[in-house]
């Protein structure tokens, strides 16, 4: 019930962000989109992904988009009817629509042979997880398996992720700090 409602909000957000002529409003709506998406990830029990989505999607992406808007224009370029009816413009529209459809089809094709959500027979649940459950406490002397995997087995991966988040935080501070005007 909640899932369907949240997905509905996501679709509404995406459609209105596309049709908004004021790009600042579109940025705000994309921020809302990220928050709802993070909630959906939490519903799917992927808490760390949800957290990254909330901090990167709602926080940093919004700041970077506003920074880009402050250097360009706030409103979308308004095409006149004559410009919109030109064959070259129509051709570009058809090409971009085709590209989007092909990309979507390829992505859907990629999910066809994926195992069902929560399937106990999935390869990830058959080969990797049992070993972590059986050995992680003995190998890393850490009781929490998730912590053992993130900070022990995938230590370098986590180091890289932390570096990325740290760099993003520095960027936000650089953009938002107050500069004394001379």
């Amino acid at each position: 019930m909640i899932d369907v409602m949240l997905l509905l909000i996501i679709v509404v957000c995406a459609i209105f962000a596309l049709f908004m002529k004021d790009l600042l409003s579109a940025t705000i709506i994309l921020g809302i989109y990220s928050f709802i998406m993070a909630t959906i990830f939490t519903r799917l029990n992927a808490v760390d992904v949800a957290f990254t989505e909330a901090s990167v999607g709602a926080g940093i992406t919004s700041v970077l988009m506003i920074a880009a808007l402050s250097r360009t224009k706030r409103y979308e370029y308004h095409y006149t009817k004559l410009q919109r009816r030109k064959p070259s413009a129509l051709f570009l529209k058809v090409i971009s629509l085709l590209l989007v459809i092909i990309t979507g089809a390829v992505l859907v094709y990629g999910t066809i042979d994926m195992p069902e959500f929560g399937d106990p027979e999935a390869p990830a649940n058959k080969h990797v997880s049992p070993r972590y459950i059986a050995e992680s406490e003995h190998e890393t002397s850490e009781k929490n398996i998730v912590t053992a995997v993130l900070a022990g087995y995938r230590g370098y991966d986590t180091l890289g992720e932390t570096t990325v988040i740290f760099t993003a935080g520095i960027c936000v501070i650089l953009l938002l700090r107050r500069r004394i005007n001379t």
């Binding site: 909000i9 509404v12 705000i28 939490t42």
Partner: protein, 84 residues
Amino acid sequence: MFDIAAVAVTIAIMITMYRAIKGPTIYDRVLAGNAIGTKTVILLVLIGFVHDRPHFLDLAVVYPLINFIATIAFLKYREMGRLD
């Protein structure tokens, strides 16, 4: 009980979405976005209790911090016309 509360909060998010989409001025939209961020926090806490995992509370506490970064950026852009 928690399920019903979660659905009610989701309906509240939908109503706030109307203001975010329709809102005549940019400030309505900023306010709606902020309100939706707050409601997301409550929804997260409720989902945590539905799944019987109360440690979602820790996660929910950090969300408002993220929520106000974007708001500060919007308001600074509106006040100064630029970010740096």
